[in-house]
């Protein structure tokens, strides 16, 4: 199996509505990743693109529609899709391409344009629910998140105020991200008093819907060393899917995320993630999900993540910075692009190129994780200098 390096990264701004089409956003992110690597299109041997439901962009067979903007024309090109987990699954699929020895380079692109869908992208989420037992109730995705958040709070006796700290931190971190959609200096009180959507979920507990694209360039070791003396390596990948019946698993803990993390850790020979992972970009479409996922990837014991957050451990200058980018809560949540944005952040942090977002401590290894499908997929990648 070949070693796989990340040698370039790029992303568009994340915004509520972009003039650019999905193809055009894909082009902008792809071109930036290629420029960052010092590559031209002739150097790209394969392309993998990730994008979530066709219903968002309103274009069926969206993978084909987006292809030429991602440099896929006349190349081995494929689209992968595991719902919200797609953004970290795309680089995993890109890794297959290069690790297998089949290709020396692979351009990895995540795109989402959610703004075309009206009345609201919620309607696309509504139709993922069971048409016999759930849809007649008018269920929204927020209901499910609220049930999961309440279950997590109940099992570990977590206070809403501690969960709100995640939103305060991530929106604050995003103030230093040039692509961010919702950076803000807010307080726990602001979160607590924000509009109730489906309690316990309130407006400031939730990431926005967004348009955007992000891309990274992967290369085999031989090729990577021609472009850079300082590649960043993908040393672990993992993915796992639990039952699609969200009623048939305990919502307080994402065991599928744990399985995905364990798979990546085994590959990366990580036996003590708390010590061997220096920072992480875990999936935070809601503030409690950051805590849920810190525990799922074993960076915190069950129920410990709120305490670490309260103690400042997860701040950019803390011992275990979590979502130094600003995460989905601050940078925005164009589904598949948001996960790739996290992988871009690992690259920039490990290269020391994160600018004002650079975490204070020396970092050698980072983890990115996404989550999705019908609330039951975990995707994990670890990257190392």
């Amino acid at each position: 199996m070949k070693r796989v390096a990340v040698i370039g990264a790029g992303m568009t701004k994340f915004r509520r509505r972009m003039l650019e089409t999905g193809r055009e956003m894909s082009f902008e992110a792809s071109r930036m990743a290629m420029d960052s690597a010092g590559m031209e299109i002739k150097d790209v041997e394969s392309v993998v693109l990730g994008t979530a439901p066709d219903a968002f962009d309103g274009v069926h067979m969206k993978g084909e529609y987006l292809m030429d903007g991602a440099g896929g024309t006349n190349r081995p090109y494929s689209r992968v899709y595991v719902g919200g987990g797609t953004g970290v699954f795309v680089p995993v699929a890109g890794w297959w391409h290069v690790a297998s020895g089949q290709f020396d380079t692979c351009l990895v692109v995540g795109e989402e344009k959610m703004s075309p869908l009206h009345p609201h992208p919620q309607y696309a989420f509504w139709s993922i629910f069971d048409h016999t037992t759930e849809r007649p109730l008018g269920v929204t995705l927020l209901w499910i998140f609220s049930l999961e958040m309440r279950r997590y709070m109940h099992v570990h006796k977590v206070r809403e105020e501690d969960i709100a700290l995640v939103s305060v931190k991530n929106k604050g971190n995003a103030l230093d991200h040039p692509c961010a959609q919702l950076p803000a200096r807010i307080t726990v009180d602001d979160v607590m008093k924000s509009e109730p959507i489906c309690l316990p979920v309130k407006r400031l507990d939730v990431s926005p819907t967004s348009d955007g694209a992000a891309a990274v360039m992967l290369a085999s070791e031989d090729v990577a060393r021609k472009y850079t003396d300082d590649p960043v390596w993908i040393d672990g990948v993992g993915w796992n899917v639990d039952t699609q019946y969200w009623t048939n698993r305990d919502l307080y803990y994402p065991r599928y995320v744990e399985e995905a993390a364990r798979m990546a850790y085994k590959m990366a020979k990580i036996d003590n993630p708390k010590k061997q992972i220096d920072f992480a970009e875990v999936y935070d479409p809601f503030d409690y999900k950051e805590l849920h996922h810190m525990e799922g990837v074993l960076l915190a014991d069950k129920g410990e993540a709120p305490k670490l957050t309260r103690e400042g451990v997860t701040q950019r200058d803390g011992d275990l910075p979590i979502n130094p980018s600003g995460g989905l809560l601050g940078v925005g949540n164009p589904i598949a692009a948001a996960g790739v944005m996290k992988v871009c952040e690992l690259y920039w942090q490990l290269k020391g190129e994160a600018g004002k977002r650079q975490v204070k401590k020396e970092v050698d290894r980072g983890l990115a994780q996404a989550w999705g499908d019908l609330l039951q997929v975990g995707t994990v990648i670890t990257m190392k200098r």
Binding site: E20, R23, E40, I41, S115, P116, P119, Y123
Partner: protein
């Protein structure tokens, strides 16, 4: 165990209901699309032209798919066009007969890659016919592909 064909003889005997997924969309034309549609308002068909390889795209793209660089240059093509293929439709979306058959053509422009699918008519219309767009009156154009009423044999 019943054979598969015996399992269901009447849909009415089942508990079933209808539902719909209520989506509607508001699309953006994009960077190149804005230029293209604004061109229609002026009665012009625009191509984007790659400054590296010279390739001209109709409809315009904001990037060259060959060179994979951004395209900022736009040039007018036509109005002369050539019919590359034709199709005659006799029924609508739902299979209902049209009042009169509608002819669609794929037309190409000299010096450009790609082309447009649009309505077409005229005496002797066929593959290879020389055609030109007939635009709506200037005040009635709204910046959509329907600002061209059809392509007509010259």
């Amino acid at each position: 165990m019943m054979a598969p064909l015996e399992r269901l003889t009447s849909v009415e005997s089942l508990r079933s209901w209808t539902d719909q997924i209520p989506f509607h969309y508001e699309y953006t034309a994009g960077v190149a699309g804005e230029r293209f549609l604004r061109g229609f308002k002026d009665g012009r068909i625009l191509a984007s032209a790659c400054e590296e390889c010279g390739k001209r795209y109709v409809p315009p793209k904001m990037y060259c798919t060959d060179c994979f660089v951004e395209i900022r240059k736009y040039e007018e093509v036509g109005p002369a066009a050539t019919v590359a293929a034709l199709a005659e439709s006799y029924v609508d979306f739902e299979g209902k007969a049209l009042a009169r058959p509608r002819t669609f053509a794929f037309v190409t422009f000299k010096g450009a890659t790609g082309g447009l699918i649009h309505y077409a008519s005229g005496k002797g219309l066929g593959v290879g016919s020389a055609v030109a767009p007939r635009f709506r009156e200037k005040g009635k154009r709204t910046g959509t592909v329907l600002d061209i009423e059809e392509f007509v044999v010259r």
